[in-house]
C-alpha cells in the first residue's frame, strides 16, 4: 500500500471528478424526454458530449457510455498511487472477455462463429493479448490466476460438456482474484469492500436460486468464499423462507438491504429489486470515504459510483428508446450519492 499522504492529490482529483457525476435531476430530464434524440441532446450537456459526437446513430448510446467509463478508468489509473484498486474494479470485465473467448472457441469447434464483437476494452488485460493467448492456447502470461483457470475450464468442458460448470469456475476465479488483489494492496477498506461485495453476490445468487427452486445440493457451487457470512450459514439460509432471511442475517450488514425492499412475497420482483438494493449496499461499504481526505477507499467509492452512473444512464436511455413505463425505470435508478 502506498503511504496515505500520497492519496491527498488523488482524493482531491477524485472529489473534483465526483462533481461531474450525473445528477439525479439530469437523469430525470433524460427519462422524461420524448424520444432518444432529445434524451441524447440532454446528455450532450454533460461530460458524455465528446463521446456522443463520435456515434454513427442514436441507437449506439452504449458505446458512448462504455467510452466514458474507459476514459475514467484510464484517467484514474494515471494518478492513483495503488493502481491495483482500479484493476480491482475492472476485473469483472476481464472475466467477461475470457468467457466470450472461451465460449467462442467452444462454438467454433461445433461449427459456430467467433464473437469478438462482444469483447470489451474495459478490462485490465488488452483484448488483443487475450485473443492471442486463447487462440494460440498459450495461457502462461495471463494474469489474475487465469493462466491456471482457463486450461482447467477447457478440461472441465471436455469432460462434462457443461458450460454452467465452466461459468461457475470462472465466477469463482473472479472473486478469488479479487480477494487476492485486495489482499495484495494491503488496504483494509479494499478487503472489506470485496468481502461485502461477495456477501451481496452470495445473497443475490441465493435469492435467484430460491426463485428457480434449485435443488439444495446444487446451491453450494454458486456461492463464493471470502465474504463476511460463511458459506455454511448461507447454505442453511436456503431452506428457510425468504421472509426470515433478514432476521437470520441480522448479525451481518447485508441484512440492512432487506429493509429497503417492499414486495418480499413476490420473488420475481424481489430479485429485480434486490439487484438495486445490493448495488447500493456495496456502495455504502465505502461511503465513509467521503469523510477521509487521504483514504484509498475514495478510489473504489468513486469508481463504483461511476459504474452506477453508467447503469442509471443505460436504464434511462433504454427506457426512452423503447418507450417503456418511466416509473419502472425510475425505480431502478441506483442512488449514486
Amino acid at each position: 500500500m502506498a503511504p496515505a499522504e500520497q492519496y491527498g492529490y488523488a482524493v482531491a482529483r477524485l472529489r473534483a471528478m465526483s462533481g461531474r457525476l450525473l445528477e439525479e435531476a439530469l437523469l430525470q430530464r433524460i427519462l422524461e424526454s420524448e424520444d432518444l434524440d432529445s434524451a441524447l441532446k440532454v446528455l450532450s450537456e454533460t461530460v458524455y458530449s465528446s463521446w456522443l459526437m463520435e456515434l454513427k446513430g442514436s441507437g449506439e448510446f452504449d458505446r458512448a457510455i462504455e467510452a466514458e467509463l474507459l476514459h475514467v478508468y484510464g484517467e484514474v489509473q494515471k494518478f492513483v498511487p495503488d493502481t491495483a484498486l482500479v484493476q480491482l474494479c475492472r476485473l469483472p470485465y476481464d472475466f467477461h472477455n475470457v468467457k466470450v473467448l472461451m465460449k467462442s472457441a467452444l462454438l467454433v469447434r461445433e461449427g459456430g462463429e467467433r464473437r469478438f464483437d462482444l469483447l470489451t476494452s474495459l478490462g485490465n488485460v488488452p483484448v488483443d493479448d487475450l485473443i492471442m493467448a486463447l487462440e494460440s492456447e498459450d495461457f502462461r502470461l495471463l494474469p489474475f490466476g487465469l493462466h491456471q483457470l482457463v486450461p482447467h475450464c477447457f478440461s472441465v468442458w471436455e469432460q462434462s460438456k457443461d458450460i454452467l460448470e465452466v461459468e461457475k469456475l470462472l465466477d469463482g476465479g473472479l472473486f478469488s482474484a479479487m480477494r487476492k488483489l485486495g489482499a495484495a494492496t494491503g488496504i483494509e477498506a479494499a478487503s472489506m469492500w470485496i468481502r461485502g461485495k461477495i456477501d451481496a453476490e452470495n445473497v443475490r445468487n441465493l435469492l435467484r436460486m430460491k426463485r428457480m427452486d434449485m435443488e439444495t445440493g446444487a446451491v453450494a457451487g454458486f456461492l463464493h468464499d471470502g465474504g463476511l457470512i460463511s458459506r455454511e450459514k448461507l447454505l442453511s439460509l436456503f431452506s428457510e423462507p425468504v421472509e426470515s432471511w433478514s432476521k437470520i442475517l441480522s448479525f451481518a450488514d447485508v441484512s440492512k438491504a432487506f429493509s429497503h425492499v417492499q414486495e418480499i412475497n413476490n420473488l420475481n420482483s424481489l430479485v429485480v429489486e434486490m439487484e438495486k438494493v445490493l448495488d447500493e449496499y456495496v456502495a455504502d461499504i465505502v461511503e465513509r470515504a467521503k469523510y477521509l481526505a487521504f483514504g484509498p477507499e475514495n478510489v473504489i467509492s468513486y469508481l463504483w459510483k461511476k459504474e452506477m452512473e453508467a447503469k442509471n444512464l443505460r436504464i434511462a436511455l433504454v427506457s426512452v428508446s423503447n418507450d417503456t413505463d418511466r416509473t419502472l425505470a425510475r425505480g431502478l435508478f441506483r442512488h449514486v450519492g
Binding site: 435467484r208 454458486f222 419502472l328
Partner: protein, 207 residues
Amino acid sequence: MARLNVNPNRMELSRLKKRLVVAKRGHKLLKDKQDALIKAFLERAREGKVLREELESELAECYKSFLLARAQTLPAMLEQALMISGAKCDLHVGMQNVMSVLVPVYSVEQGGSPVNYGLATSLGSLDVALERFAALIPRLIALAAKEKAINLMAVEIEKTRRRVNALEHVLIPGFVETIRYITMKLDEQERSTLSRLMKIKEIVRSH
C-alpha cells in the same frame, strides 16, 4: 346464360340430363362442405384471436423483463450470457384432417434449463425473462398451429366457394339452358316431321 356447343340430339340430351343431376348433387355437397368449413373456421378464428391477445400481453411482459435485464447491464455481457444455450426444444409435426383440409398439429418437448450462464456476470431479471419466454414457447407454437390451420381453412373455403359459385352460376344454368335448347330443337324437328307427313298424306290422297 351461355349455352354449350353440342349437337341437339336425344343422346346428348340424356347425357346432359345425367350431368345436370351430378352437378346438382355436387353443388349440394360442396355447399354443405362450405358451411361446415365456415363454422369450423369461425370457431378456430375466435379461439385464435383470444389466444393471440393473451399471448401478446404475456409477450409484452416477457419483453419488459428482458428490457429490465438489458437496461442494467452491458449489452455485450447480456449476449455473452446467452451465447451457449442449455435449453432444448424438440418440435414434432403431425397432421389432422379437418373437412378434407390437412392442418398441422405441433407438439413440443422442452428439456434443459434456459438459465445456462454464470450468475456473477448476469442479472436476476434475465432469469425471470428467460423463464417467462420458455414457459410461453408451447403456447406460441400452439398459436402457430392454430393460425396455420385458420390460414389453410381460409384457402379451402375460398376454393370451395369458387367451385360452388361455378356450379351454381355457370355449369348448372348452362346445362339447363342447353337441355331446354335441345328439347325445343327436338320438339321443333318432331313438329316439322309431323307437318311434312301430313302434307305428303294429303298429296297422296288427292291423286
